[in-house]
C-alpha cells in the first residue's frame, strides 16, 4: 500500500499540487485521472521521488520515503517498477538488454537465470522472439510492452505507469490496460496509473483519484464514476455524446 499525505508542489510562483492526500491499495489498479495540466504526472513523480514535494510525505508500506535516508530510498526504489509515457527504453540496448538491465544493476543473478527471467517476462507481456531487436525496430505498442516487462522483471512491489496508452490505437490501449491489470492481480502489487483515457478509467479503474487544478476532488471506483455528483468530474467524464448517453442525459 502507498499512502500520500498532504503533498504540495509549486514551480516558481505557480502552485501545481495543493495538499493531496490519499491511499493506493495493494493488489488493485489505482488510477490518478484528470484533465491535462492538473498535476497528475507531477504527483506521480513526487511519489516515485523524481520530483521533491515542497511539503508532505509519501509512505511505501509505512516506510516514509520522503524523509528516508539515501540507503532506505535506494532500497525502496529497487522495489519500484515504472512504465514511462514513451517507454523510455535505452536506445543503445536491444530488447533483451533493456529488460535485463535492472537485473544487471540490482541483482547478482547468474547470466542463465537472468536470461530465463527476461524470457519469462517477455512471454508474459506477449513478446517472444524479439529479444535481439532494437527499440527503433519495434512499434509503439511493443515498446510499451517491453517497458512493462522491464518494470516487472525485478519482481517489484509497486508498479507505476505514466500515461500507458498515449500514442496507441484503441485496440492496443485495451491490450496494455488489461496487461497492467492482470499483472497487478497476478503478482499482488500496488499499481498506480496516471491517465486521462476514459477507456482505461472505465476498464481498469478499481480505485480512482480525480485531480482538478492540483487538488483531489473525488475518490472512488469505476462503478461509482457515473454518479459521483461532482460537477468537475462529470464535465471530465461526460465530454462526448456516447458517455452522455451512458448517463442518460
Amino acid at each position: 500500500m502507498i499512502k500520500i499525505n498532504n503533498i504540495t508542489k509549486s514551480f516558481g510562483d505557480k502552485p501545481v499540487l495543493g495538499g493531496i492526500s490519499g491511499e493506493f491499495e495493494k493488489g488493485k489498479t489505482n488510477l490518478i485521472i484528470g484533465s491535462s495540466g492538473t498535476g497528475k504526472s507531477v504527483l506521480l513523480k513526487c511519489i516515485v521521488g523524481l520530483i521533491y514535494p515542497d511539503s508532505g510525505n509519501v509512505y511505501f508500506d509505512l516506510r516514509n520515503f520522503t524523509e528516508a535516508d539515501k540507503e532506505m530510498k535506494s532500497e525502496i526504489r529497487r522495489e519500484i517498477g515504472m512504465l514511462f509515457q514513451g517507454g523510455a527504453l535505452f536506445d543503445s540496448k536491444n530488447v533483451e538488454e533493456n529488460v535485463m538491465f535492472p537485473l544487471n544493476i540490482l541483482t547478482r543473478m547468474s547470466e542463465a537465470d537472468k536470461i530465463e527471467r527476461v524470457n519469462f517476462c517477455l512471454k508474459r507481456v506477449g513478446l517472444e522472439g524479439v529479444n535481439k531487436k532494437m527499440p527503433s525496430e519495434i512499434s509503439g505498442g511493443m515498446k510499451k510492452r517491453v517497458g512493462i516487462a522491464r518494470a516487472i522483471v525485478n519482481n517489484p512491489n509497486y508498479l507505476f505507469c505514466d500515461e500507458p496508452n498515449s500514442g496507441l490505437d484503441p485496440q492496443t490501449s485495451v491490450v496494455i490496460d488489461e496487461l497492467i491489470m492482470e499483472i497487478t492481480h497476478e503478482f499482488d502489487i500496488t499499481t498506480v496509473v496516471v491517465t486521462h483515457d476514459m477507456n482505461s478509467v472505465l476498464g481498469i479503474g478499481e480505485k480512482i483519484m480525480f485531480l482538478y487544478k492540483g487538488s483531489k476532488l473525488w475518490e472512488g471506483s469505476n462503478n461509482d464514476l457515473t454518479h459521483s455528483g461532482v460537477k468537475e468530474l462529470d464535465d471530465f467524464v461526460f465530454t462526448n455524446k456516447v458517455m452522455r448517453g451512458l448517463k442518460g442525459t
Binding site: V48, K70, E75, R77, R78, Q85, F90
Partner: protein, 242 residues
C-alpha cells in the same frame, strides 16, 4: 555564477551512490571505444594536413639566407607539440565528442531514459557521466600523441615532396634543441582539456529541458562553452607552466 555552482554540484554528484567497479569498468571501455576509435581517423587526417600546411607556410615565410632550413622543422615541432596538437585538436574533440555527449544525454533526458535510471535507484549522473569523463581522460591524451606524430609526419612528407627542405634537414630540425618538458606540458594540457570538454558537455546535456530543439541548443552550447573553457585554461596553463 549560478550555472557554475550547478556545475560544481553536478561534478560532486558523480561520486556519490556509485555502482560497482565492474559496472564502471565495462562502461568506460565502451566509452573509450566510442571516443577513441571513432575519432582517431579524423584526428589523423586533420593533424597530418595541419603539419603539412604549417611546413609550407613556415617555409614560405623563412626566406632569409641567414636562417637555416632546418628551422622550418623546428617551428613545426614547437607549434605542433605546444599548441596545434593539444589545443586545436581540443576544438575538434569538442565539436565531435562533446556535441555527441551533450546530444546523447539530452535525448536520454527528454525521452525519460534518465528518469528510468533514477527510478531504479541508480545515480544516473554518476552512471552515465563518470565513464565518459574517465574515458576522455584516457583517450584524449593518446589522440593528442597520435595527432602530434601525424602532424610531424605530414610536415616531413610535404617538406620532402615540395623541396622546402630535405628529409635530413627536417629530421635534424625536429631533434635540434628538443625540450622534453614540452611533451609533458602538452599532456598536462590534454588532460585538462579532456576533463573540461567531457564534463561541460555532459553537464549541458544532462540538464536539457524540453524537446528536440533544446537538445540541439544544448549540443551547440556544449561546444561553445567547452571551447571557451579550453582557450581560457590554455592561456592560464601557458602562463603558469612555461
Amino acid at each position: 555564477m549560478k550555472g557554475f555552482g550547478r556545475y560544481v554540484i553536478f561534478m560532486g554528484s558523480l561520486f556519490v551512490r556509485r555502482e560497482t567497479f565492474k559496472t564502471y569498468y565495462n562502461l568506460t571501455l565502451e566509452e573509450c571505444a566510442q571516443i577513441g576509435l571513432k575519432s582517431i581517423l579524423l584526428f589523423m587526417l586533420v593533424s597530418t594536413f595541419m603539419g603539412a600546411v604549417t611546413t609550407i607556410q613556415t617555409a614560405a615565410n623563412l626566406v632569409s639566407p641567414f636562417v637555416p632550413r632546418f628551422v622550418i622543422a623546428q617551428v613545426v615541432r614547437e607549434m605542433t607539440i605546444l599548441e596545434l596538437a593539444p589545443t586545436i585538436m581540443a576544438v575538434i574533440f569538442a565539436g565531435k565528442v562533446g556535441s555527441s555527449m551533450a546530444g546523447g544525454l539530452g535525448t536520454m533526458r527528454i525521452t525519460e531514459q534518465i528518469d528510468a535510471l533514477e527510478v531504479m535507484g541508480i545515480n544516473s549522473a554518476s552512471y552515465l557521466v563518470l565513464p565518459k569523463i574517465i574515458a576522455s581522460l584516457l583517450m584524449y591524451p593518446l589522440l593528442v600523441i597520435v595527432a602530434a606524430v601525424c602532424a610531424i609526419m605530414g610536415g616531413y612528407i610535404v617538406g620532402s615532396l615540395t623541396g622546402a627542405l630535405t628529409p635530413t634537414e627536417y629530421v635534424y630540425g625536429i631533434r635540434y634543441t628538443f625540450n622534453p618538458y614540452f611533451i609533458s606540458f602538452a599532456l598536462i594540457k590534454s588532460f585538462m582539456f579532456a576533463f573540461l570538454i567531457s564534463s561541460i558537455s555532459s553537464f549541458k546535456g544532462y540538464y536539457t529541458n524540453g524537446g528536440a530543439l533544446e537538445v540541439g541548443i544544448a549540443s551547440t552550447n556544449a561546444v561553445t562553452t567547452s571551447i571557451i573553457a579550453v582557450l581560457l585554461s590554455d592561456y592560464f596553463l601557458a602562463y603558469l607552466l612555461l
